[in-house]
């Protein structure tokens, strides 16, 4: 019990501290790839400190939603981040770390963001919110289908159990897993507003989604939104690592040595994923907004196909 609480505390501190740093690292890697020097990876933390010291300016037409939404979104994302195993299994939240709970928390954060975008009544905010919800209508079912695939393979939709089952390698490599990986990666890209779907580096572009909803936010509220999106990126990358590369993760009940090995493996996995993300984003161009539903629809269909194959190979059909 003590070990579970301790690892949970380490996990929480790690993820909460790592989130802005990870964004900084991705930005730095992208700048290096483009031949620029790039800001220090600590820059997002500095930006957050600067924003936190400033007073938020709220539009006259805004209601209480604008004030409350950032806190709701950050709280939901923190809860989700606490559920995803990072360096060890068997954390205190492991019994409730269900993929469906995770999807619910993320949807709550997304709903808060969309409401905040619409609240002030500006055109851009409403535009961004409507696009975000349209993408969510395809991304969420894709995520649920991936959860279904994992649940059939591991016998549970609990993330801890899935990571455990996949780490032992008894299930082997399945075609469904390749399809589910493709689907989950596409959903992760869409959920975090990364490049083929949305460009995190620009403001005031007609095709923006995430930034459009934040145009009215300022000061402390903007800091919370920025932090929420950084935490969401970290959480998605560690989710991908936990499901598809659970190697090196300390099993439940491991001692401090196992945790240290797990931390090293986790750092390596996150570094590798950040590099992959940076290379991917530098290599391709942003999609037209109207092509995004096709992209997410492809993810949804791949998830569906993965589930179909599993139904056949496990004899459920």
């Amino acid at each position: 019990m003590f070990a579970a609480l301790l690892t949970q505390a380490i996990h929480a501190v790690l993820l909460l501290a790592l989130a802005p740093l990870l964004v900084g690292v991705v930005r730095w890697l992208k700048a290096r790839l483009l031949g620029r020097r790039g800001a220090s990876p600590l820059q997002p933390w500095r930006d957050l400190r600067k924003l936190l010291l400033k007073r938020p300016v709220v539009a006259e037409s805004a209601s209480v939603i604008t004030v409350a939404a950032p806190y709701v979104a950050v709280a939901a994302t923190v809860v989700a981040a606490l559920l995803v195993p990072s360096f060890t299994r068997g954390m205190a939240t492991a019994p409730v770390a269900d993929l469906l709970v995770l999807a619910g928390c993320l949807t709550l954060a997304r709903g808060a963001l969309a409401l905040a975008g619409m609240d002030a009544g500006t055109a851009f905010g409403g535009l961004g919110a409507s696009r975000e919800m349209a993408f969510a209508a395809l991304a969420e079912p894709a995520l649920l289908l991936v959860a279904l695939c994992c649940a059939i393979l591991a016998g549970s939709s609990n993330l801890d159990a899935i990571a455990g089952a996949f780490a032992e390698g008894l299930l082997g490599i399945r075609i469904s897993l390749a399809l589910a990986l493709a689907a989950l990666a596409a959903v992760a890209v869409a959920e975090n507003g990364r490049i083929p779907v949305d460009n995190p580096a620009t403001h005031l572009e007609l095709t923006m989604v995430h930034e459009a909803m934040l145009l009215e936010a300022s000061g402390r509220h903007l800091a919370l939104w920025e932090y929420q999106s950084a935490l969401s990126l970290t959480l998605w990358l560690s989710l991908l690592a936990a499901i598809f590369a659970p190697f090196g993760m300390a099993p439940a009940g491991a001692g401090p040595l196992g945790w240290i090995l797990g931390l090293v493996a986790f750092a390596a996995k996150m570094g590798a994923l950040a590099l992959v993300l940076a290379v991917f984003e530098s290599a391709i161009a942003k999609m037209r907004v109207f092509r995004v539903p096709e992209f997410l629809g492809a993810a949804l269909l791949l998830g569906l196909l993965g589930a179909l194959f599993l139904y056949v190979s496990t004899g459920l059909l």
Partner: protein, 222 residues
């Protein structure tokens, strides 16, 4: 062999990659990307054949794998991209069916392959069923690519992808005669040649690679 056995797992992963490439073919609109996806699929096929050669200890499959690696991953894509460059058609392929509907049709075809293979291979293990179903899906998806693309390059790419699926089904089964394999490979090279000549021909005659022009030429009305 079953899930969790390395020889089987690797073969399975390679087949899964090929299936994924079939969906990429269905999803992509741009010609260079189509050719790149076809080359990747051919490369995966070559690796799958080499792996099966090692796993089944069959020397003939090494030859199959090498042919696939050289011809399908390098030569044919290179020839296709040379053609594309010469004709200056880097734009997107016109689709007869939208991307969304064709992807949906693709998943339906993959499901159909599963349903068809299930009773036929019922005596075999679930694993053999799944492998056969993947190969059949790749064949059907190749056919769908041919149907959905209104462009000579799209047709050639679909045809090659269908053939990849056939070879995949062949290498998965123990004891594919080498003669069959060699003649198929020769056939494909001839097909690639014919396709090249065909494309040059319709390009010269109609100033375009859109096969819709052929329909008028044949006297069909649309």
């Amino acid at each position: 062999m079953g899930f969790g056995h390395i020889p089987f797992d690797v073969a399975h992963a390679l087949a899964g990659g090929m299936l994924l490439m079939s969906f990429v073919l269905l999803y992509q609109r741009r010609v260079p990307a189509l050719i790149a996806a076809l080359a990747t699929q051919g490369g995966l096929l070559g690796l799958a054949a080499l792996w099966q050669g090692w796993a089944q200890d069959a020397a003939g499959l090494y030859l199959t794998g090498l042919i696939a690696l050289v011809a399908k991953a390098v030569l044919i894509p290179w020839a296709l991209s040379t053609l594309v460059r010469r004709f200056g058609m880097h734009g997107s392929v016109q689709t007869a069916l939208g991307i969304g509907p064709s992807l949906m049709a693709g998943v339906a075809l993959a499901a159909l392959a599963l349903v068809v293979v299930l009773p036929v291979a019922a005596a075999d293990s679930a694993l053999a069923q799944e492998d056969l179903a993947v190969a059949l899906s790749i064949v059907l998806l190749g056919m769908l690519v041919m149907i959905a693309r209104r462009n000579a390059i799209g047709q050639v790419v679909g045809l090659m992808s269908m053939e990849n699926g056939l070879i995949l089904a062949g290498v998965g089964v123990q004891g594919l005669p080498l003669m069959v394999e060699l003649s198929t490979a020769a056939l494909v090279l001839v097909l690639a040649l014919v396709a090249g000549v065909f494309m040059t021909g319709i390009r010269e005659r109609f100033d375009s690679l859109d096969i819709a022009f052929l329909e008028d030429h044949r006297g069909e009305r649309r």
